[in-house]
């Protein structure tokens, strides 16, 4: 006769005692004769100790309660899935990093992709644009059109938007610091082309706060960065309710070596800063949260850290919205995750090994609940420009996970695993403790201003690097099973100077022919709004229509807000 499981879990004394017995009689003697291969065993990023065995007693010790901590798919706290039927009704959207030659004519590339049947496009800009400069500014020599499109004025976007918009469902614009300027340009370009903004979803990344903690594409001091991001958020909520005004790219914290608890806590605390600022504009949480719940999260090679992180993310968001803000609508309580294997786990050496790594990480994503979509990086991304074969292999990988492994056939299959539930709960608890710390400092903006995130990440960066150098972490191809004769060349994208020269000429010629006094007046109105707190999007809209340039608008705001120049303490160095 089988005893019901509940009967065991309440008799934890028995299990704990039995575990001790097992340790003393069975495992202990074995280990004495066969010493363990690691000391201590720890998880990869958090470096939390890993026990030899997890049992129901561990769940009890963690205060685990199935109904409270795990629940059911599509229901609070959404640990198992935000979707009522997991991936059984439809798989996650499978997307691919295409990474075509950057700087290429974006419109040409976009048209090609739409012809291939893709219905979503990403607008990425060069470093001149993302840092708020025009192409002819001496500061950006050599950068124009390199990392993405050069966007100096509305004219550039008018040219880029020469597309069959009827084939387009989704457009993402990755801009961050000057996002309100960028948003204004996009709206103006759509107007000029007579395109109905209701016909597709524009998703602006607008994630300036994370940029202060790592990556570093900011312009203005943090409080002003937040203000202008909120202007864009408010504008979209009120004027384009079918658009998405934010994406928290938690994945950016990973190259900065954030561990999973930091990823969850930092990105959620940062999201709260946007939420709080938007609530102050007179909107309520049930309206606001569904707009601000987009998160891009990567998994790294530690299989269980990745899976538990995704589960913990869902749970923490739900709890945060409910407990901190009193949200009630499911749309407000459900996080929207976009998942991906991380590129930082891939090696330059022995690139074919990366296919295996990607397969493992993609499986982890699927097991953790892949969210809205999963993106596969390319296995040779570390050193080369995209080759057709790599693209094909990357795409096939997701289909193999989806169709051949069976991991998505039931919802959240690893739930109930003693290890997985223990680790998930521990992550959740640690993330909440960390968030409390940040809230006690006055919130994410204050934490950024004091350098808290940056210093924490700087420490992690150094520690992890030492782990690698001193052999505490084994990385195949890099410090383990190294091929002596291997010499891997890095291909970089080389831009011909002509492209930059042409763009510089274009923007100068534009300035010469437009109505300069109209531009001056418009820029002054932007400064005015910056000073008195008016929403910057409408005044930017007017200004871009008279062909004020991107750099001029960013400078107008520099005049009022100043620029952010952190000393090394604040940069985490």
């Amino acid at each position: 006769m089988n005893k019901p499981i509940t009967a065991f879990t309440s008799a934890d004394d028995n299990i704990a005692a039995a575990t001790e017995r097992w340790e003393a009689e069975t495992r202990g003697p074995f280990v004495a004769a066969n010493p363990e291969r690691r000391d201590p065993f720890t998880t990869q990023a958090l470096k939390w100790p890993i026990k030899p065995l997890y049992t129901p007693a561990d769940l009890d010790a963690a205060g685990f309660d199935y109904m409270k901590d795990v629940g059911f798919p599509g229901e609070y706290p959404y640990t198992r899935s935000t979707k009522p039927n997991g991936h059984r009704s439809g798989f996650w959207t499978m997307t691919q990093v295409t990474g075509f030659g950057k700087g290429e004519d974006w419109a040409k590339r976009a048209r090609f992709m739409l012809d291939q049947g893709l219905s979503g496009l990403i607008l990425e800009y060069d470093l001149a644009t993302t840092n708020g400069y025009d192409s002819d500014d001496p500061m950006v020599e050599g950068e124009v059109g390199r990392a993405g499109m050069a966007l100096d004025s509305l004219e550039d976007l008018e040219r880029a938007f020469d597309l069959p918009f009827d084939k387009l469902n989704y457009l993402m614009s990755v801009c961050n610091a000057p996002q309100p300027v960028n948003l204004a340009m996009i709206i103006a370009a759509l107007e000029k082309k007579g395109i109905d903004p209701q016909e597709f979803v524009l998703h602006i990344v607008n994630g300036i706060l994370i940029e202060y903690t790592c990556v570093g594409r900011y312009i203005y001091p943090p409080e002003h960065g937040l203000r202008i991001a909120t202007d864009a958020i408010e504008y979209i909520i009120r004027n384009h309710p079918n658009w998405a005004p934010l994406s928290i790219i938690s994945a950016q914290l990973q190259p900065a070596k954030a561990n999973p608890v930091q990823e969850i806590a930092f990105s959620l605390a940062i999201c709260c800063a946007y939420i709080d600022a938007t609530l102050e504009r007179g909107l309520d949480i049930d309206t606001v949260a569904p707009y601000l719940n987009h998160f891009v999260v990567n998994v790294d090679m530690d299989f269980f850290e990745g899976i538990c992180k995704l589960r913990a993310f869902r749970k923490c968001w739900a709890r945060l919205m409910k407990e901190r803000y009193g949200a009630t609508r499911p749309e407000a309580l459900k996080i929207r995750l976009m998942t991906s294997p991380t590129t930082i786990a891939l090696t330059l050496q022995q690139p074919l090994n990366n296919i295996g790594r990607l397969a493992i990480m993609a499986t982890a994503c699927a097991l953790g609940g892949a969210g809205e979509n999963m993106t596969t990086p390319l296995h040779d991304e570390a050193h080369s420009l995209p080759a057709e074969e790599a693209i094909r292999v990357g795409a096939a990988l997701q289909h193999i996970v989806a169709h051949e492994t069976g991991v998505a056939e039931t919802i959240d299959p690893l739930a109930g695993s003693y290890y997985v539930e223990t680790l998930t709960k521990q992550m959740e608890d640690a993330a909440f403790a960390e968030m409390e710390k940040i809230f006690a400092m006055g919130g994410a903006t204050k934490a950024i201003e004091s350098g808290y995130f940056q210093r924490a990440l700087g420490r992690e960066q150094y520690e992890r690097h030492k782990d690698l150098e001193e052999g505490r972490r084994k990385w195949v191809g890099v410090n383990h099973l190294v091929l002596a004769e291997e010499k891997r060349e890095i291909e970089i994208f080389r831009l011909d100077d002509e492209m930059e020269e042409q763009q510089v000429a274009k923007v100068r010629e534009l300035r010469a022919r437009r109505d300069q006094s109209a531009v001056e007046a418009a820029l002054e109105r932007v400064r005015e709004a910056a000073r008195n707190g008016g929403n910057l999007v409408p005044v930017c809209l007017e200004a871009v229509k008279v062909y004020a340039t991107h750099g001029e608008l960013c400078n107008a705001m520099r005049d009022v807000f100043g620029v952010h120049a952190p000393d090394s303490q604040l940069a985490g160095i």
């Binding site: 004091s450 807000f561 100043g562 120049a565 952190p566 000393d567 090394s568 940069a571 160095i573």
Partner: protein, 319 residues
């Protein structure tokens, strides 16, 4: 070589001044030779110390002051000090990042120094570095202290004008400023004045300054200590603070105490150098032998000092 450097810096050549400061910081004997050479050309520059608790925004404030001083066509030297690791002796010196806009201005010289084991908020070489910048012709030399604790009173002896920077939201605002600084500061600034708690911080400082005046009485002197507000990130407050700096310099010169302050500073430096020198001389083999006796607890420290002095007595102070 030292003559070339000394002559170069007297002409205002940056590379020469930078090399001289390096020698002094490294305790290279050529540094002392340079000081001997340039000393007569010093005494003109007004040394302005900026000190305050961590998070007060000293670097940003210094950056704002440099901008305003340059607007008035004054030449400015800046010495920014950061802590050296007590274990490795290494340091990360990051203050100049905040003053990046001035890097290419020939009228501004920014130099970063590590404390190299010195307590008190400054490095051992700070005084000498000020002399170098003075001799190079800078009108104002800003010294920005480490700012990690409350023991930063060395700057008071060094500077003609000490600016104490406070910031709202630190809790008990005034507690963050050590007693010695409260008495000796000449200009008080509350930075980040747009923060919550600004009113409360202002009132506390006002009260503190009033009490200070009352308790010092006549000793307070004739300089009316101003309490100023600033939002350095928005470039607000620079004009008033620079007005105060220049007014204080003028007041000292008018009173005739400017030179006296410089002189007192050099006197302190002499004693410091002497202490330093004696301590280092004691670490000779003969000296080590005496110290070994103390370590073994066979003699007491006072007797040890007498013996060490006796050891050193016969020897002339060499260059």
């Amino acid at each position: 070589m030292t003559d070339a450097i000394a002559d170069g810096l007297l002409k205002g050549t940056i590379a020469a001044g930078a090399r001289a400061i390096r020698w002094l910081d490294d305790r290279d004997p050529r540094g002392a030779a340079v000081i001997r050479h340039i000393f007569p050309a010093t005494g003109r520059a007004q040394i302005v110390g900026i000190t305050g608790p961590p998070g007060a925004g000293k670097s940003t404030l210094a950056d704002m002051l440099v901008t305003e001083l340059r607007r008035r066509e004054l030449r400015v030297g800046v010495i920014a000090i950061d802590p050296s690791s007590p274990f490795t002796g290494g340091a990360i010196l990051g203050d100049r990042v905040r003053m990046g806009r001035h890097t290419l201005d020939p009228g501004v010289f920014i130099r970063s120094l590590g404390t190299r084991g010195q307590a008190g908020g400054l490095s051992r070489s700070t005084h000498d570095a000020c002399l170098v910048l003075d001799a190079m012709g800078y009108d104002i030399v800003i010294v920005e202290t480490v700012g990690v604790g409350q023991d930063e009173i060395d700057v008071v002896n060094l500077a003609h004008t000490t600016i104490i920077v406070g910031v709202p939201g630190l809790g008990d605002e005034v507690q963050a400023v050590k007693a010695g600084l409260l008495e000796a500061g000449e200009i008080f600034v509350i930075n980040k004045a747009d923060r919550d708690g600004y009113e409360a911080a202002w009132r506390q400082y006002e009260l503190m300054l009033h009490l200070r005046e009352v308790s010092l009485g006549a000793a307070a002197g004739s300089w009316p200590v101003p309490l100023l507000r600033a939002i350095a990130t928005a470039a607000e407050g620079g004009v008033e603070i620079v007005d105060a700096i220049l007014a204080h310099g003028a007041a000292l010169r008018k009173e005739g105490t400017f030179a006296r302050r410089s002189g007192l500073r050099d006197r302190e430096q002499t004693l410091a150098l002497l202490r330093d020198h004696l301590a280092r001389r004691a670490l000779s083999p003969a000296g080590e032998a005496v110290l070994a006796e103390v370590e073994a607890r066979r003699i007491d420290p006072y007797s040890a000092v007498e013996r060490l002095l006796a050891e050193l007595d016969g020897k002339a102070l060499t260059t």
